[in-house]
């Protein structure tokens, strides 16, 4: 059961998006859920990606990913019409959506992708939405237009000051929290370190904060425990208990260590893949 890529495009240097046939997932998919993808049934690894959008008419889901390793690079090398070997889902618990009142949504880097469907659903539920989007630099900021459409206010930060304000999302978040009235709820999605810092900010202001975690996963159904985190001092499985958690209770330091568990091996795998692709390319072009 391979899944055809209907369309694919590049959002920034290392970020891509695709609409992929996944008729079986469309019926149940809700904001906040994710899928697990594998590009090769025999030897591929299984990686979690958030469902960034659903198109029930076409039976497709939208995925957005950043090229960071072998599998995401392989995905990036696929074209419209190619297929993805396996897509499992929708996994995880959907986001709890209600009318909180004023909500601040913070997206760091690729975290903007999973944040978008949540922000949309929050808007539909009647919330007043402040969006804070951050990126290292203007060229890698994604989904700005999409967020503008649904937010009441948007703040953009770049680390290098090439666009919006110079600085980190956490600084803008502190500013928003300092207002009266302060936001009733925060949603923060991005790199682990960014979520950690943002949670420190919102904790100070006692603003309840949901984070969405992207740990290493194997099955995504609760059978391996590889995705576990320490939450309020106890183990939780991100794939079935999450992916969203009260950010004030997550042990981010341990989570970051677990995320780095295979760093060296992942690097090797990616290097091998790049070499392999180069070889194929040279063979195709008769170059060397």
């Amino acid at each position: 059961m391979a899944h055809k890529i209907i369309s694919k495009s590049q959002l920034s240097e290392d970020v891509f998006t695709a609409d992929v046939e996944a008729g079986h997932i469309v019926r149940a998919a809700k904001a906040g859920q994710f899928v697990i993808i594998s590009v090769n049934n025999e030897f591929g690894e299984r990686i979690p990606l958030t469902i960034a959008g659903v198109n029930p008419q076409n039976g497709t889901i939208k995925i957005i990913w950043q090229r960071v390793g072998k599998t995401t690079a392989h995905l990036a090398d696929l074209k419209g019409g190619d297929s993805i070997a396996a897509i499992v889902g929708p996994l995880g618990r959907p986001t709890h959506i209600e009318n909180f009142g004023a909500v601040v949504c913070v997206g760091g880097g690729i975290g903007a992708a999973p944040l978008l469907p949540i922000a949309k659903a929050l808007k539909e539920a009647g919330n007043k939405i402040t969006v804070i989007l951050g990126a290292r630099s203007k060229s890698i900021l994604i989904l700005e237009d999409e967020f503008r459409k649904i937010s009441d206010e948007i703040i953009i930060t770049t680390d290098d000051g090439s666009y919006g304000r110079k600085g980190f999302v956490s600084e803008a978040l502190a500013e928003v929290c300092r207002r009266t009235p302060k936001p009733n709820q925060a949603f923060v999605i991005g790199p682990a370190i960014m979520m950690k810092v943002c949670c420190e900010v919102t904790k100070e202001f006692a603003v309840p904060t949901q984070v969405s975690l992207n740990t290493i996963m194997v099955d995504g159904t609760g059978m391996c425990g590889g995705c576990r985190i320490e939450y309020d001092g106890k183990p939780k499985f991100v794939c079935v208990d999450g992916p969203e958690f009260d950010g004030h209770k997550v042990n981010f330091d341990l989570m970051m260590k677990r995320l780095a568990a295979y760093k060296e091996m992942e690097k090797t795998s990616y290097e091998q893949y790049k070499k392999h692709v180069c070889k194929i390319y040279r063979r195709r072009t008769g170059d060397g």
Binding site: M1, A28, N40, R46, I87
Partner: protein, 493 residues
Amino acid sequence: MANDNKQTKQNNNREAGGLTAAERYKIPPQDMPEQAPEQRARNFEEVATGFTEEQARKEALRCLGCKNAPCVKGCPVRIRIKDFIAEIAQGNYKKSLEIIKENSLLPAVCGRVCPQENQCQEQCTVGIKFKDIAKSVSIGRLERFVADLDVDDKDTPKVGAPTDRKVAIIGSGPGGIVAAADTRRAGHDVTIFEAFHKPGGVMVYGIPEFRLPKSIVQKEIDTLTRMGVKIVPNFVVGKTSTIEQLLKEDGFDAVYIGVGAGLPKFMNIEGESFVGVYSANEYLTRANLMRAYKFGAGADTPIARSKKAAVIGGGNVAMDAARMAVRLGAEKVYLIYRRTEKEMPARVEEVHHAKQEGVEFHLLQNPKRIIGDENCRVKAIECLRYKLGEPDASGRQRPVAIAGSEFQIEVDCVIVAVGNIPNPLIQQTSPELKFNEEGCIIVDEKGRTSMEAVYAGGDIVTGAATVIQAMGQGRTAAQSINEYLQQKTKIRS
């Protein structure tokens, strides 16, 4: 009566080479040919290579053909053991396999992984006579022998005329495979939904290649496909679709739930989330299903290449994990178990193999906490010593910690294999289904659940058990499904 007995004995004698019981007792038990420990510890190929024909016939001659066949009472699916063995003794291998297949659909699997020493072979007259289970007739090895002769067989079991009834099988473990085959034979339109990208259940993701080659499971899957069973992988019931949806929206007339007991238990001790601590499920799934042992040589999934690994537990899962760690290059593998070897639930053969391969057994010990370095990577495990106390509910002596007996073992990897429990996914999404306190689905003796048209079997009903038991329950449930659908058809027409 006495006369009768004599008659049978003579019959048997004539059939199986005319030996007396005394002569049979004299035939030595045949040793299973195996790869040498030092060789196999470095490869992933099957450890036991199987009886030669000569060995199989000799071993078959050891069977007395007991009139009351106590072995059969020990067999969860009541295979006609002495009859299939008698056929082997005479060289009628095809006939022998046919007899096994009347009751068991997966003889090549069961011959390899059944805990025979607690089942058929425990009851065997020969073993009892010698007061040594190891001297019982090697029923499992004989079963494997005839099943393996059949490897190239492409026969497709007959399928009944189409009934226009749809059956959904959830989970493709041994129970699901048998339930699919049996309902398909009755002519129903059968679809298996499997959460993983490959069918086979524990036989594929859990039990390693060196104990159960994946090609054997694949062969059974291929047979199902040839019979017209549809297999839908990457489909998680409870997430992709609920049972209610399968019945009400997707047109299925009956459902078999065979999702196993997939949730790993942890010990809930300090340091259990450090880098380098795995559940056995994760460790084995990475290694088997995702082929992490080929990482860097084609496979993309990494796994810790540890130098010193500790495996916690004493069951088959623990043995598999420990032996996998050996093969993945660990110089030291410690198996830590809080009781003694006698209480270990693992198959005797696996315990024996693990020891041969250099796994060090640390008995009457149990971890208290896991110690990590500044990067949260495991560097040691702290254990307590135990002694055996009063028997508990299971009849086994309860292990009691000895206060103040703490000591540390230096390790860089810890694999937790202290049991698996049912996954609550289905429970959370099927309010109509009744579950017990352990999270197992409650069924009656026919495999019926509390929900109409829904049946269940295997580990999701019993809690973690055995392949043969799951298979037996899959068969019982399939029979009930077939009866139910026949009934339903009659009412409708």
